[in-house]
Amino acid sequence: MAARLLAGLPRRAVIALALVVGALVVAPWIVNDYLITVLILILYLAFTGQAWNIMMGFAGQLSLGHALYAGLGAYIAAALFTRYGVGPWVGVLLAMPVAAACGAIIGFLAFRFGVAGVYFAILTIAFAEFARIGFDHLAIVNAAAGLFLPVAQYTHNDLWRLRGDPTMFYYVILAATLAVLALCRILRQSRIGYFWLAIREDEEAARAAGIATFRYKMYAVMISAAVTSFAGVFYAFFYNNLFPEQVFNISQSIQMILGPIIGGVGTLFGPILGAFVLTGLAESLTAALTACGVDLPGAEQVFYGVCLLFVVGALPEGIWPWLSRRCGIAERTA
């Protein structure tokens, strides 16, 4: 299994991957609590970026409303937990099909009626905004007042109920990120992955070649949505509070997709690299400005925006394709 996953990667890439994973596994023994929280955020964004990349990077369908699927996952698991005491893993089992079904509805409507490109992207925003305002008025999840998970000092980590210290959450999200990386690798190398690539590159040609483009685009949306909803469940149990205004906000969707775009759309490691670069950048800007004694709310965001402009201007394909070529660890192109 592992051998098949790694087949086709240059030896240097395998060694680099092993080193990075090893470093991440031992990180909690070395770094402090603050950095663990930052790493959790990075891995969360790497995970969601990877999930978004299935839809956009592989199948070429631009979604700007992925906050919808994360938000649904978060709310379903949190509501089950707070109202009925049902644990998060059961919540995941419900959240994933619901998110996939929502993705299927949006995909069905859009693809059946020929909504594509920018229009499709804006349709996804519309559904996410619809959900945001809807949940803001949905009494069963406390509407705009927010849904809170009970928080206490935990003496031991309860993995089954996902209650515990940040280190436990760190390993959960690390495992999830590696799992979704493997999933993406498998998808990419399977029949469905090649169909997606064909659709992304030229949909009409793909259809002419006999690919059921509608069906495979639907698969892309549904898989992407289901995977994203897992991240939402994690979000709910890690942050313990949910406000529709936050979880369904378009800024969440944007945050999820900045990583893969900066890292490299359609690549396997781009979303992970992008999450590290962007979150690292944001955190170091905050630290640097604090060290310089600058206390201007918004200043780091301005620098962040300028850096985004610079990266997208200098590296149109993203950082990973450029970096992997330079280091000789590029995947052999299929």
């Binding site: 559904f127 905004e129 305002i133 918004g298």
Partner: protein, 290 residues
């Protein structure tokens, strides 16, 4: 509730809708010609709103008059943005353009935040509480002036595209990019001009909008979304469609705010957007792409 309450709210919504329409017109012109979706549109409008607020509070200059110089400032901003940043991106994929404009939006929001702070600002004109009464109808004077100014501005724009040589050249770029290059049009300069015109629309709309709502640095993204909803409802690239979409969304928001709750009003706007995208993807007045 008596009928004239509905009527009053509807008229007020329609007048606000005219200003929305002008804002959306800017987005529509930019997309129709350059084929770039301006994800920093609302943020650009908040620049104009702050300019209007500052001019008013410092020099007591009326936003309705100041909309002309403000539109000129935004024109220069849009021209510079297109020729400096966006022109190299016109052949890039959509997500790349999206990232570029999102970054521009982030910078605008946070520069405004640094300069003006997070508090809401407002303009209190002498006619702020005046109203006109026509039969059972009572309408805010400020909204009437703003709506009339929006119509005037839009009419000037129609005339520009219809009757001037530059306007015709821009329409040529929109119809056929390669053809425009072949006949020797300076497409990059025309694109910069177009982005400037779109920015001027949103600048004028922003100045008027200060008569209707308060401004904070954070309202930009909300108006970006609203502009999308309006433009797609009316038909991307159709100028009359943008105005019609503005009226429709303004009316919907006003009535939804009255019948349900004000905080749910944009849900109905998004509901309309979804319906339009599904049943008439080219928008109410848009032409279906060949």
């Amino acid at each position: 509730m008596p009928f004239d309450v509905y009527l009053n709210v509807a008229v007020s919504g329609l007048l606000t809708g005219l200003v929305y329409g002008l804002m959306a017109l800017g987005l529509s012109v930019i997309f129709g010609v350059i084929r770039v979706v301006n994800f920093a549109h609302g943020e650009m409008m908040s620049i104009a709103m702050f300019l209007a607020v500052v001019l008013f509070s410092a020099f007591h200059l009326d936003p309705l008059i100041m909309m002309v110089p403000i539109a000129a400032v935004l024109f220069a901003f849009g021209y510079a943005l297109q020729s400096g940043l966006i022109n190299p991106f016109i052949t890039r994929p959509e997500h790349s353009q999206f990232l570029l404009l999102v970054a521009v939006g982030i910078i605008i929001v946070n520069v405004l935040l640094i300069v003006f702070g997070p508090d809401a600002r407002t303009v209190q004109t002498a006619y702020g509480f005046d109203s006109f009464q026509i039969g059972p109808l009572i309408v805010d004077a400020a909204k009437v002036y703003a709506g009339a100014a929006a119509v005037l501005f839009a009419a000037l724009l129609f005339a520009f595209f219809r009757f001037t040589r530059v306007g015709a050249a821009i329409r040529a770029c929109a119809d056929n990019h390669t053809g425009a290059l072949v006949v020797g049009l300076n497409v990059e300069r025309l694109y910069a001009l177009t982005f400037g015109i779109g920015a001027a629309c949103v600048g004028a709309a922003g100045a008027m909008m200060t008569l209707i709502v308060d401004v904070t640095p954070m309202i930009g993204p909300t108006y970006t979304l609203l502009a999308f909803v309006i433009v797609i409802t009316g038909g991307l690239g159709s100028m009359a469609g943008a105005l019609l979409g503005g009226l429709l969304i303004g009316l919907t928001e006003a009535l939804a705010g009255l019948i349900f709750t004000p905080s749910a009003k944009s849900m109905f706007a998004f509901g309309i957007l979804v319906l339009v995208l599904l049943f008439r993807p080219q928008g109410l007045l848009g032409k279906r792409a060949a």
